[in-house]
């Protein structure tokens, strides 16, 4: 019997989760992406001088970090890691249970932050924490049993260790609002920001790039020695920043941490540049334009971190650092990668439905809505530029313009995602009916 691509392995290998699981995480991320820009619009007056504290800017920040970045990381990890490490996710109810706990938890957390309702925030934080702990256990089980890909697995351990710090400091920060902090707020905040962005998300981003970038560029796997050196220096940077956060020679160690971070990123980007320059596929389209911009903004975020450490006299330095770090690097990188991965995964899942003819499953390009992505590309970059300008100028009005552009971009990205899902389901329905799937 002739099967479409993917049918055999999904059936016999049983390592691949059904599409409803990864796509529910991606769908939630797409929704929280829109809500994040709406929250920024609601908190526009406070954005230019934002330095933490309850309010809609904090809600917008966490809608991105928890709602978009971590949500996508969980969905992608659950889908791809078992296949990569050749170890199935044990009970398939776990990923679904994590989603049902995590998604309302993120919504409650953001709502509590935005409105200042501490009990709502606490309820959301408990749900998010429980879901992240469950995810961490699944991830640890998978990493422990991993076969091969040591550099990616090592980055996974770095991400997991960082996630533990992020959860502990998040609980401490949430405790501050109900009068029961674990450690002092300044230390908890410094640890939380560093280990969430550069630790948890950063390690995942750097590690997965060693597979994804050469795969998309069709190039050889990067040289392992510089990759290990990059990882070692990045871990050193995290330890230095962690020591500084708890008060050990903070200015000196933070400066050294930024220097180490720049060295680690330099090695990583050199490997990425080689992969892109030597790959068989040179034209990687707008998605990789976003990835390249994100890499530049990663470097910019470290330079801004240096400015924060050395108290550069401008009210907007801290919010600008946060914008470039979270919106500029991580969100831009994730949206660039996601717009390539979603059609590939949708194509594979569509192809799992047995076809009675010899037709092709729908191609990734047939599942990709190009115009919404073009709108998103322009709107996302315009939003980042406008909010940067707004912070520099101290203008809430320009923040609103930036947030409006961000909403347009997020809606366009949502249209791209919805189109991919609709075309995948239509193709599956046609194949089930016995006709040729749409190629």
């Amino acid at each position: 019997m002739k099967l479409a691509a993917g049918a055999f392995l999904a059936g016999a290998g049983s390592r691949l989760l059904p599409p409803s699981i990864p796509f529910r995480f991606f769908g939630a991320a797409v929704t929280f992406h829109v809500l994040a820009w709406i929250a920024l619009l609601a908190g526009a007056d406070d954005v230019p001088q934002f330095a933490g504290g309850l309010g809609w800017p904090l809600a917008a920040l966490h809608l991105v970090t928890l709602g978009v970045l971590a949500m996508t990381a969980i969905g992608a990890s659950l889908q791809l890691l078992p296949v990569a490490t050749r170890l199935a996710v044990g009970n398939r109810r776990w990923p679904a249970a994590i989603w049902w706990l995590y998604t309302p938890g993120v919504a409650l957390t953001a709502c509590g932050m935005g409105t200042g309702m501490v009990t709502v925030l606490a309820a959301g934080a408990i749900a998010v924490t429980a879901a992240l702990v469950a995810f961490a256990l699944l991830l640890a089980r998978n990493l422990l049993g991993a076969k091969g890909m040591p550099i990616v697995v090592a980055h996974g351990w770095g991400a997991l260790g960082s996630l533990a710090v992020v959860i502990a400091t998040a609980l401490s920060l949430a405790g501050t609002y109900v009068g029961a902090p674990i450690i002092d707020r300044a230390s908890a905040l410094a640890l939380h920001v560093t280990f969430a962005a550069y630790g948890f998300m950063g390690m995942l981003a750097l590690g997965l790039a060693y597979i994804l970038v050469p795969m998309f560029a069709l190039s050889a796997a990067p040289d392992e020695h510089p990759a290990w050196a990059s990882l070692a220096i990045a871990v050193l940077a995290l330890f230095l920043a962690g020591a500084a956060a708890i008060g050990l020679a903070p200015r000196l160690l933070d400066t050294l941490a930024v220097g180490a971070g720049l060295a680690a990123v330099g090695l990583h980007l050199r490997l990425m540049a080689v992969a892109l320059a030597t790959g068989m596929r040179r034209n990687l389209g707008p998605s990789f334009a976003l990835v390249r911009i994100a890499w530049a903004l990663l470097v910019a975020s470290l330079l801004l971190a240096l400015a924060v450490v050395h108290d550069v006299p401008h009210d907007g330095i801290a919010p600008l650092f946060g914008l470039v770090l979270i919106g500029g690097w991580l969100l831009t990188l994730l949206l660039g990668i996601l717009q390539r991965i979603v059609p590939f995964l949708a194509s594979m899942h569509a192809g799992q439905v047995r076809t009675r003819g010899k037709g092709l499953p729908p191609t990734p390009s047939a599942l990709t809505a190009v115009r919404p992505l073009a709108i998103h590309f322009i709107s996302h970059l315009a939003a980042l530029a406008l909010v940067t300008l707004a912070i520099a100028a101290g203008s809430p009005l320009i923040v609103r313009l930036g947030a409006a552009a961000g909403i347009v971009g997020a809606l366009a990205f949502g249209a791209f995602f919805a189109t991919a899902m609709r075309r995948m389901r239509r193709s599956q329905a046609v194949a089930r009916a016995g006709a040729m799937p749409l190629a």
Binding site: K2, L3, A4, A5, G6, A7, F8, L9, A10, G11, A12, G13, R15, L16, Q79, L80, V83, A84, R86, G148, M149, V152, I211, L212, P214, M215, L218, S219, A220, A221, M280, I341, P343, F344, L345, S347, M348, G351, K358, G359, L360, P361, P362, T363, P364, S365, A439
Partner: protein, 90 residues
């Protein structure tokens, strides 16, 4: 196309049998199996099938195959190995 029995290429071992060109990508570091398979099918300009010997489910390969007009079929396999037959879609 004849890749030559037992030929060791830079990425994966290739040989030709009656059922097509075989490529063994087991043990290669991802994404090298992906790249090696794409390289091989790019070099084939007739209807010769490709038999892939893999050690994991090449999830992201299927979309790339579809883009290039190829389909994959799971065939008889042995424990610890995943074997695929790749053919041009007719």
């Amino acid at each position: 196309m004849d890749a030559g029995r037992g030929t060791v290429r830079s990425r994966g071992r290739r040989w030709t049998d009656a059922d097509g060109i075989h490529i063994d990508v087991r043990g290669l570091t991802p994404p090298e199996p992906f790249v090696a398979i794409v390289e091989l099918i790019e070099s084939i300009d007739d209807a010769t099938p490709v038999i892939v010997h893999h050690d994991r489910d090449p999830v992201m390969l299927y979309g790339e195959l579809a883009e290039r007009g190829w389909i994959a079929e799971g065939i008889d396999t042995v424990p610890g190995e995943i074997r695929l037959k790749l053919e041009r879609a007719r």
